[in-house]
């Protein structure tokens, strides 16, 4: 979108470029449900200044956020931003270099590793199934590793949840990638996790399989499962997540997708005309509701404090000037715009 850079709120981008992530959590009520003991209200994930370094290389730095019980939390960022390392750290596979966190109400520490892992599930990007074992045998193995009771019942429920009951006896090696992904999801549901970490759950899936995974995530949200979703697919995050965080080694932004858009981009109107105005400065400059304007390939982009108030005034001014107005509409910035804005900003900062 060519007009995007000038429309960015310079104050917001300045804030987002600071060491502290721009956050709208103060404005957003974090969903809070029962804690691990069934009564204590607590965050499913609470991360405070968490950092991980591999020698000189910083995987992620000074990351802080909270995720409430029952929330679907999107974790976005470019390749190498530290998303998977963060998930692995919260899943006790990797020890943090500094900072603290609690996962499913249990403080993150080496001695609590096994206890934390029993209350969470992690689905890595690759399904990681035993291909010479059947679907049921794979799930039996993991039910045993979680030391679960009622194994047949749990396997049946997990397979029903992912709509795979009829493939229970198939060897995993004979399944398509989409079906394997669903088996991996069934595996992740076996222990009724308090927090479910999904790392790129739709990576490499076709649109139909992707939609099925999305539907499953939506149904899990309805059941109150806390989901920590790492993804590259911004439309996926926008569609599924209550809140998203954008990580690029440091946490750049966190909040609800619509609030991030509002925070990062000034509100604006897109005006499309059959032909450009002869003297746009005179016409648009005379409308007090317009703060700033610029020409776009299809018309004009107008920065306005209140689109509902400005649109009628703009329409009147254009008609008075004899313009053929095709449309006047409020600009809508996708989460992708927000994401690209932040990532581009980081690239430019590194280049400087």
């Amino acid at each position: 979108m060519e007009v995007r850079p000038p429309l960015v709120d310079p104050e917001a981008t300045a804030r987002s470029g600071s060491a502290e992530p721009t956050t709208v959590t103060e404005q957003v009520k974090v969903p809070v449900g029962p804690g691990p003991d069934g009564s204590r209200p607590d965050a499913a994930l609470a991360v405070e200044h968490l950092t991980k370094r591999f020698g000189d290389r910083v995987a992620f730095d000074d990351v802080s956020f909270k995720v409430g019980y029952g929330e679907v939390f999107g974790f976005l960022g470019p390749n190498g931003a530290g998303k998977t390392t963060t998930v692995r750290t919260l899943g006790t596979l990797i020890a943090p270099s500094s900072g603290s966190a609690s996962v499913a109400g249990i403080p993150l520490s080496a001695k609590n590793g096994s206890a934390i892992r029993s209350r969470i599930s992690m689905m890595p990007e690759s399904p990681g199934l035993y291909v010479r074992l059947t679907v049921t045998e794979n799930l039996q193995c993991f039910a045993g590793l979680y030391d679960l009771d009622d194994v047949p019942g749990r396997i049946g429920r997990a397979l029903r949840a992912v709509n795979l009951e009829d493939r229970a006896r198939d060897l995993c090696g004979s399944l398509s990638k989409g079906l394997r992904q669903r088996v991996a999801l069934a595996r992740a549901l076996l222990n009724d996790p308090a927090v479910l970490f999904l790392d790129e759950p739709t990576s490499g899936l076709d649109p139909v399989a992707t939609r099925e995974v999305h539907e499953l995530i939506s149904s899990l949200r309805e059941q109150g499962v806390t989901i920590f979703l790492t993804t590259h697919r911004l439309e996926e995050a926008e569609r599924l997540c209550d809140r998203v965080a954008i990580l690029n080694t440091t946490l750049r932004l966190i909040g609800r997708p619509d609030e991030l858009r509002q925070q990062l981009f000034r509100r604006s109107l897109d005006v499309r005309l059959r032909a450009p105005l002869g003297d746009p400065g005179d016409v648009l400059g005379a409308v007090p509701e317009i703060e700033r304007w610029e020409q776009t390939p299809s018309g004009y982009a107008l920065i306005v404090p209140d689109p509902d108030l400005a649109a009628p005034a703009v329409a009147r001014a254009l008609v008075r000037a004899g313009a053929d107005v095709l449309s006047i509409a409020e600009s809508h910035h996708s989460l992708e715009d927000v994401y690209l804005e932040l990532v581009n900003e980081d690239v430019e900062a590194k280049a400087r």
Partner: protein, 242 residues
């Protein structure tokens, strides 16, 4: 969370199911015993009681039997960790509450049990063939107490050593084939002592056999501690970057 035998059983069961459907493992478990029973059997049946090198032949034949518990588990165990990593199953497994001790013991048992069954079965078949077809002098030499004792004592101990070497190599490797070659090499040293006994270079006695077995048991226990210390979840997940 305490040690759970249920988690050990879960991995053990999975491993045994996996072996059953893995042509490479089935091939190894079938080919190695066949190879190491044909040669010594032919040697013994063809030998006559006056052969000056009879002792050497019997020693060599029995040594073949002990190659089974060394080679078979080292080949299988070399796959234990690096194989899981290659097929992408290591991270999901390590993401469960399973403790490293549980994981390692399950992997070790999955190699130990079939090895023991096959090695003892092969030795039993060898003894039966010898009893039926070999010269009575040879039979009595084979059934001499210390020979049988060496087989029964050293089979599990050599297997134990080979298993820990195999798993240790597997935790540090990034390639299954390299891991298999290295683990077979690493499992051979204890066999040298047994070979020296079997070939009468070291004078064979019950006391010596028991003493060496105790030493090998100590090495096995030490190897288990070393392997447990080497099993670092973080390094395994990130592939050695850390």
């Amino acid at each position: 969370m305490s040690f759970s035998w249920r988690r050990v059983r879960a991995i053990l069961r999975k491993e045994l199911r996996d072996y059953r459907r893995n042509r490479f493992v089935i091939g190894t478990m079938a080919a190695v015993p066949v190879l190491f029973i044909i040669l010594p059997t032919i040697q013994l049946i063809a030998a006559n009681a006056t052969n000056k090198a009879l002792t050497l032949r019997i020693g060599l034949s029995l040594l073949y039997m002990l190659v089974i518990p060394v080679t078979m588990p080292s080949v299988v165990c070399a796959y234990a960790v690096v194989g899981e990593r290659e097929q992408g199953t290591l991270e999901p497994v390590l993401s469960t509450p399973v403790r490293r001790e549980e994981f390692l013991i399950a992997k070790a048992l999955a190699a130990f049990v079939p090895t023991l069954v096959i090695a003892y079965a092969v030795f039993g078949i060898f003894l039966a063939i010898a009893a039926l077809f070999a010269h009575p002098v040879i039979v009595s030499a084979i059934f001499m107490g210390s020979h049988v004792l060496v087989q029964f004592l050293f089979t599990p101990l050599l297997a134990g050593w080979a298993i820990w070497v195999g798993i240790a190599v597997s935790t540090r490797s990034t390639d299954v084939r390299v891991a298999q070659q290295l683990s077979v090499l690493g499992s051979l040293p204890p066999l040298v002592i047994v070979a020296l006994m079997s070939l009468n270079v070291i004078s064979e006695s019950t006391a010596l056999a028991i003493g060496l077995a105790a030493a090998l048991l100590a090495f096995d226990l030490l190897a288990w501690r070393v392997v447990a210390a080497m099993f670092d979840r973080e390094r395994l997940v990130i592939g050695g970057r850390g």
